[in-house]
């Protein structure tokens, strides 16, 4: 296995910080909220102030508390959906890629079908048929979301598995006689970790988006606070056209930040998988200091005449002509 290099790219570190922050918020959010999000006792539509950091809604609820509490449901559902979807795609992808033949044909057809059907409309249709009481069950919502989000990962994992299948170490374990499922999950899967991680991140991104969208349309129960529901209320009370930015900007920005954090992490994994993407050494400022041109230019190999500190072992032939 390769040596693991802890990524030092600033993008990745930033991503880790953001995601870490929101994970903490998921756990501690409701504890930190100064008021209950349902509490309507405050004056409506207050702009942000020391008392209400994010202002209040038209019903007089504290937006800051709503944001903090809302983090939990949003992220938990996204996590559930993301994990389930990734596991599904892992099982399908590895099986299809490794076993091949009719299994592959069948599984691939299934994933392609799920991939082609647009996710959101399908989600909306399924959700609208759900009995109202199950809409407040975050687990159910999470499961439905994962149903629509697993196909992409399955395809990617299948492709990677197929290329790994022919590698020597897999061949070796086959020859020794290891059972098929053991080979799949103990030899092939560990080498898929970077792709799996990337797939998980993508799926998480998708799941957050899907959940928030469903909530925004009003297809989830409004008794469970999440960022999407906040946006739903804001839109329904005409907040944008009335200039009440403080109502919908906090949840929206939070969603965007979580997404950005995940995407940055994804960058790091991308660079790990594909070494060509890693930053090619020095920044342009450092290069200029060394006397190199500002960036690499193809077909124009840079010339850097340095002082030769050690005597060149091979001198030119006589007569010396340079």
């Amino acid at each position: 296995m390769k040596k693991s290099r802890f990524p030092r790219s600033p993008k990745v570190i930033l991503g880790l910080c953001i995601v870490g922050f929101f994970l903490l918020l998921t756990i501690f959010g409701p504890l930190l909220a100064p008021f209950s999000p349902d509490n309507t006792s405050f004056a409506p539509l207050l702009t942000p102030s020391a008392h209400h950091w994010f202002g209040t809604t038209s019903l007089g609820q504290d937006i800051f508390s709503q944001t903090l509490v809302g983090a939990r449901a949003t992220i938990v559902v996204a996590l559930v959906a993301g994990l389930v979807a990734t596991m599904l795609s892992m099982v399908v992808g590895i099986s299809a890629g490794y076993i091949g033949g009719y299994t592959d044909d069948g599984l691939s057809l299934m994933s392609n079908v799920f991939l082609a059907i647009p996710g959101l409309p399908l989600l909306i249709v399924i959700d609208s048929y759900l009995p109202v009481n199950s809409r407040s069950n975050t687990l159910v919502i999470g499961l439905i979301i994962s149903l629509t989000g697993w196909a992409w990962g399955a395809r990617v994992i299948r492709a990677q598995t197929m290329s790994l299948r022919n590698r020597d170490f897999v061949e070796a374990s086959r020859i020794i006689g290891e059972k098929r499922h053991r080979v799949m999950f103990f030899e092939v899967a560990p080498n898929l970790l970077p792709i799996l991680a990337s797939s998980l991140l993508f799926t998480l991104l998708y799941s957050i988006g899907a959940y928030v969208t469903l909530a925004y349309i009003g297809l989830t129960s409004t008794s469970v606070w999440n960022w999407g529901t906040m946006l739903f209320w804001a839109q329904n009370n005409n907040a944008p056209l009335s200039g009440e930015w403080y109502w919908f900007v906090p949840p929206g920005v939070c969603i965007a930040l979580v997404g950005t954090g995940l995407a940055l992490l994804n960058f790091g994994i991308d660079e790990f998988i594909n070494p060509r993407l890693r930053a090619a050494g020095l920044s342009s400022k450092q290069r200029r200091k060394l006397g190199l041109p500002r960036r690499q230019r193809l077909g124009l190999t840079p010339v850097l005449r340095t002082k030769v500190t050690t005597p060149a072992p091979l001198a030119t032939t006589k007569p010396v002509t340079t």
Binding site: N112, V113, V125, L205, Q235, A256, S283, R294, L298
Partner: protein, 326 residues
């Protein structure tokens, strides 16, 4: 040619699955939604309409499921998607008015986003390490913003504060739809904000994907060869880009699905009279015939677009053709 056949078969199967799911859902969901629906609308719609609705679900619930299924398919072929209970019109009529707006919006946005995104991505990949790279974190941030949020912000900025762009609707309320110049101009102006929100939210994906692919391609020998052949820089970049763009086109199919989802919501925010608006109202009013009709139309349109994208890809990548070396 075989490949096209395979893609066609795939889409045919997918279409069949979508149609069947559309049929099965109301029949399988707990709570017997069809029965409830018909019971609910007894007094509100004409008996012919009730019959049309019943047929669009597959005929009487007393018949076996398979029979209902075939009735349903037959109805589809006749264009009977049922009758909307909220708007009291056949679903097909309603859709005929809304679908063009959505198609226009999605079409323009996807094309613009793809072109601008891949061009920027190609340049970013080529001039790697230059100051342009600072665009990347910004693009990433925009990509993470849900489409409708960006739309909402724009609605706020331009709707309540700066009055630079028209905000609600698809055309000026004082005009009638028709093939007139003033209508066309008005339609374009009203489309600006929605298109911009969709483009801004989706462009980052194209940019980053293209950039990564460009970096990979530039490392290939043939790019060095074109430099060694003394070709001007423009030609070298084009040679690399033509190769780098292929995965993006392959991803176009996936992206169309996402853009559709996003566009639906943007329509919501801007009150754009397309399918998304319709869908939301249908959902909130449990107007199942309309919901199903919209789902079908959206899915089939997306599949058609996917097929188109696949054909384009097959045309651009000669390696997919199955001529063998002699």
């Amino acid at each position: 040619m075989r490949l096209i056949g395979r893609r066609l078969a795939l889409y045919a199967v997918t279409a069949w699955v979508a149609i069947s799911v559309n049929f099965l859902l109301p029949h399988l969901m707990p709570g017997n939604p069809i029965q409830t629906l018909i019971g609910k609308i007894q007094g509100q719609v004409t008996p012919q309409e009730i019959e049309a609705i019943r047929l669009s679900f597959g005929g009487g619930l007393d018949k076996p499921l398979l029979t209902q299924y075939f009735t349903y398919l037959g109805q589809l072929l006749h264009g009977n998607l049922g009758v909307s209970i909220t708007l009291s019109q056949p679903v097909t009529t309603i859709l005929k008015q809304s679908v063009p707006w959505t198609l226009g919006l999605i079409g323009i946005s996807t094309v613009l986003s793809f072109i601008i995104g891949t061009v920027c991505g190609a340049l970013l990949g080529w001039t790697r390490g230059s100051r342009l790279d600072s665009l990347i974190p910004t693009a990433t941030f925009f990509q993470a913003i849900p489409y409708f949020f960006l739309a909402t912000v724009m609605l706020l900025v331009f709707g309540s504060d700066l009055h630079l762009f028209p905000v609600l609707g698809a055309y000026s309320p004082s005009l009638h739809p028709g093939w007139t110049w003033s209508f066309a101009v008005s339609a374009l102006r009203y489309a600006e904000l929605p298109v911009v929100s969709i483009v801004l939210s989706s462009i980052a994906g194209w940019m980053l994907g293209m950039r990564n692919m460009m970096i990979t391609v530039v490392a290939e020998d043939f790019v060095l060869m074109s430099v060694a052949m003394g070709l001007p820089k423009r030609k070298v970049i084009m040679a690399a880009a033509r190769n780098a763009v292929l995965p993006s086109i392959a991803n176009l199919s996936l992206a169309i699905g996402l853009v559709v989802s996003g566009a639906l919501l943007v329509e919501l925010v801007f009150n754009y009279p397309g399918v998304g608006d319709l869908l939301l109202n249908a959902v909130q009013n449990e107007d199942y015939p309309l919901i199903q009709g919209i789902f079908l139309v959206i899915t089939l349109t997306v599949l058609a677009a996917n097929l188109l994208a696949d054909l384009v890809y097959l045309g651009l990548d000669p390696r997919t053709r199955t001529e063998t070396a002699t």
